[in-house]
Symmetry: C2
Subunit: 122 residues, 2 copies
Amino acid sequence: MEWKIDENLPIRTQLTEQLAAYIASGCFKPGGRFPSVRELAADAGVNPNTMQRALSELEDMGLIITNRTAGRCVTDDMEKINNVRKKQAKKQVEAFLEKMKALGFSRDEIADVINEAIKEGE
Amino acid sequence: MEWKIDENLPIRTQLTEQLAAYIASGCFKPGGRFPSVRELAADAGVNPNTMQRALSELEDMGLIITNRTAGRCVTDDMEKINNVRKKQAKKQVEAFLEKMKALGFSRDEIADVINEAIKEGE
DNA sequence: TAATCTGTATTAATTGATTAATACAAGCAT
DNA sequence: ATGCTTGTATTAATCAATTAATACAGATTA
């Protein structure tokens, strides 16, 4: 499992976002077992308390289900997962466009730059 | 002057980024007068100390020049300004692509979504 | 000259996030 | 039944960012 944590930004937020992305992208199977708080915390090199809060947020989003003593599992509600995926993507797109516009990029310029970047990555 | 501050993220970083964008996009004329620390701080609703640090970062980036007692002015080095503009844009593009990939979006999907979003805004 | 503005520096207080160190109750497997 | 793991809760400590309240020196301006 891979973690990209920027020490300068709130950790809990990043944990939530990345775990949500892992679920949304199918890295965690819908309906499948979800790792324990302590396991995830150790893996991410983070305090269990912080991870616990991130998981609470994931549950609020409806992405995981908690069984008090038997651990957690990923929701099997594919519609919910897809909704979260779309919502997160929309959020990223909007934030990106806003920042590019602030830098003075026109719509056309943004399209050019992004298409160029996508090509380069191949 | 417009400020978009997310209380959950480090303020100084956001101030620096937004001011850099204002300069990069030409909202502040190259070579022109730059507002005082106190003025900017009051306008942004932020502590002068925090704004001061943001301005220090802007100076480190070479975007503004400080005249100890006569205030500051924007650099007239257009090349420097353009470099910063490109650098910031690249940073935004890369961060955006990474997050979209984490959500399980393919290159084609990303291209579709972004082009759609650009169209919609018109 | 006096008032005002500039950037800068300093120290303390405050606030929030994160860590740390536990503890507890419930389920599950041996 | 015993030991293990689970999620959860609690309290204190730590650390960094931000705010607050000043102060100072130099330049400008009226």
